[in-house]
Amino acid sequence: MNKMEIIGISIISCIIFMALLSFGIGSIIDFPKSKQYSPPSIQNPLGTDDLGDDILELLIIGSRTSLLVGFLGALFSTIIGTIIGALSGFFRGVLDDVLGVIIDVFLVIPALPLMIVLAAYLSPSFWNIVIVIGLLWWPTTARLVRARAWQLKSAPFIESLLALGASKTYIVFKHVLPNVLGIASARFILSVSHAILIEAGLSFIGLGDPTNPSWGTMLHFAMTRGALLYGAWWTFIPPGLAISITSLAFIILGMGLEQRQKLSTRSMEDII
């Protein structure tokens, strides 16, 4: 393990621990409800929000949604990207032409504004956010996987399987996919960080799921319920920092994994 992986993993473990803690909250720690916008105190270490809810408690509960959306959104986009990339890179021909055009179209259209439009069109819910992230964040993964699949196609073991008469679908799923997993997993970790930022962004502008409290939702209500004007800095600094630190941790881990993958600096830039 290199230094970056250790830093990334230790921060991420802390946050996962927070997310696990959220299931027991209320029974383990019971933060009292208090006056709205109470500043940090002994009862409420990070103060309270507009509903008098404890910020620390919300931060712990919010980590669950933020992480889960991050993981699921990244997983979804990585699966789509990997399958499309592998099929397109391996089959070539008409399929590749079609998929290639789709990849290029998705790469060219600015993802974030489209996500905003799509998220606004769909009703705000946890799964819709995951789907929006998944549907729009796969093209870079697909492009990288496609390049890798293309390389693999001329690898001797694939050639010999073709000569043996193995079906192409068999080869894609049994051999090409396992061989692009390394690149896909590094990309997955980086996508988690993107997905967390996107979720926070969408929630912040009010397109998130307000019933599933996340760090982005905390920021949203801080901004729409006057915390800024009130000077209740404790309502927006903790979630803001939590989002930054978490996504930073995933980026660091992703870069560490990439060093392990021994990818060139050039391709790392592409991934990021």
Partner: protein, 531 residues
């Protein structure tokens, strides 16, 4: 590396947000009083300056450019303005033009314009389809008299006159689609201000005082509306003195902002009664189990009204009574205040057969299937979502599983007004909504009209029908009292809190603002009372 850098910037940005708080706010105080320009901030965003197409342009044109035929006084009564009226049978109405009004292009206002406006708006503007739903014909008898014939007796016809924005026949008579009309004369009216222009890039709209207004020239020369996308930005501008006051149709500012304004010695906060009901829990009274009166009553005992008042209205308001109608109305009847009694609520629900049947901790339907109450709330209104969250917690405490569905405004309207595909909803009502149809909120209840509550209770329907045809005001008042009995007994809707209208202004920039229930501080009186 790029990304680490970006994330670093994010950290810095977050911290700098905090700095905003500590930063002393510079006061760029311009003596707006001297040059007689009034700058008003608003979050009611206008997208295009066509008053038929754009809802808020309609509101602002009614405030500045177009005159109404009648007005609503501070107590909510309809009083004559451009016209006076008389009727013998509540079917045939005579409207007499009593003002010597002139259009902004110099032409005189005539009875022809009035007759034209009524028939034109009824046909072309969906908003007026309700106001003039029983109008059969409107004919100018002479220069000053219009005869309106209704299809049936209808005493609330005059309410529609207060909503009517008089438009010039010579501009509109050959415009077939008013919402698409872009002619330069599209904003000609006979109101106290002349439309000057809308700059969507800078987000400002300008009005110049009408020197020839029939009631005299307003006390200001110019009004500039500044549009803000967030309340935060608008109030920041108020603190800086960039705007003299704020405006929101049928609404003040979110009360949660009040504490942050109280410290500023130049900002005065006026508190007015709210004739609308700030946020109620609306049941779909045709859908099981919300069609069960006892079920609705049980829920009314589960809610913590004090919390809503404290956390949502920041204490600016009152705990409502079971009669729903706010106490500022003249026909208000004292009813018991709503209060929480969880054990009674639980007992009532259990006795109705709604108890946990499968051991998952949540109440189930009497037939054993699990129950989820879906509450829709407006996703664009933060306090609505927060209120929904509090209601959800209260209901979950008595074992009712709740799911909040945030919806945008058009979905909200579709679900509550057309498809009726909802269990319960959270929304407020406006003064104007309370006035419309048979009044007393009937617009929002009666399943034959907009009817969010989807009420088809025959007793209720009978009262509404009687109000609609009764001319005798004493009898109407009796019926309004009776309707409050029904609200209290049957709990079609649970009012969550009665709010206040909170209106801040800068006393160093403007004084003497007047208030009316319909258009708030942008009513006609303000233009003659401000200094």
């Amino acid at each position: 590396m790029k990304k680490i850098f970006a994330a670093g910037i994010l950290v810095v940005l977050t911290l700098s947000l905090a700095a905003v708080y500590f930063q002393a706010l510079p006061i760029t105080n311009q003596p707006l009083k001297q040059n007689k320009t009034l700058v008003i901030g608003t979050i009611n965003l206008v997208r295009t300056d066509n008053f038929v197409k754009d809802y808020y342009m309609g509101i602002f044109s009614a405030c500045f450019i177009l005159d109404p035929l009648a007005r609503i006084d501070a107590s909510g009564k309809v009083i004559p303005y451009l016209v006076n009226w008389s009727t013998n049978d509540s079917r045939v109405w005579r409207l007499n033009l009593i003002a010597n009004a002139k259009w902004h292009d110099g032409k005189p206002v005539t009875a022809e314009d009035i007759a034209f406006t009524i028939m034109y708006l009824k046909e072309k503007d969906p908003n007026y389809a309700v106001h003039f739903q029983f109008v059969n014909s409107a004919v100018a008898l002479d220069n000053r008299t219009v005869e309106v014939t209704l299809t049936k007796e209808w005493t609330a016809f005059i309410v529609g006159l207060a909503a009517t924005r008089l438009i010039p026949k010579h501009v509109w008579f050959n415009v077939t689609d008013p919402s698409a009309y872009t002619g330069n004369n599209r904003n000609i009216g006979c109101g106290p201000f002349i439309y000057q222009g809308f700059d969507s890039a800078s987000g400002t709209m300008t009005f110049i005082a009408n020197k020839d207004y029939w009631k005299g020239k307003p006390n200001v020369d110019k009004v500039i509306l500044k549009f803000y996308t967030t309340t935060d930005a608008m109030l920041m501008a108020l603190k800086k003195g960039e705007i003299a006051t704020t405006y929101a149709y049928a609404k003040g500012i979110d009360p949660i902002y009040v504490p942050s304004l109280l410290g500023d010695k130049n900002i005065t906060i006026m508190v007015y009664p709210n004739f609308g009901v700030d946020n109620s829990l609306w049941f779909n009274c045709k859908r099981y189990p919300y069609n069960i009166t006892e079920f609705r009553i049980a829920i009314s005992y589960a809610l913590d009204y004090g919390d809503y008042l404290n956390y949502i209205a920041a204490g600016y308001g009152e705990i409502p009574t079971r009669g729903w109608i706010p106490n500022c109305w003249d026909y208000y009847v004292i009813k018991p205040k709503l209060s929480k009694n969880s054990s009674y609520a639980e007992q009532l629900l259990s006795s109705l057969g709604f108890f946990d049947r499968n051991g998952d901790g949540w109440r189930d339907y009497p037939n054993g299937t699990s129950m989820i109450m879906k509450i829709i709330a407006r996703s664009d209104i933060a306090e609505s979502l927060r209120l929904a969250e509090l209601v959800k917690r209260d209901l979950e405490k008595i074992g009712i599983r709740v799911q909040i569905t945030p919806v945008d405004v058009s979905t909200f309207q579709t679900l509550t007004q057309r498809t009726k595909d909802f269990d319960a909803a959270i929304s407020r009502t406006t003064f104007w909504g309370m006035m419309m149809y048979a009044g007393a909120g009937t617009l929002y209840f009666d399943h034959r009209n907009m009817g969010w509550a989807n009420v088809d209770d025959p007793e209720y329907i009978a009262i509404v029908d009687e109000i609609l045809r009764t001319a005798n005001q004493t009898r109407v008042k009796q019926l309004y009292e009776r309707i409050q009995d029904l609200y209290a007994e049957r709990m079609y809707v649970i009012p969550l809190y009665w709010g206040k209208i909170i209106q801040p202004y800068r006393s160093d920039l403007v004084e003497g603002i007047s208030y009316e229930p319909m258009y708030g501080i942008l009513g006609r009186d303000t233009w003659y009372s401000i200094k």
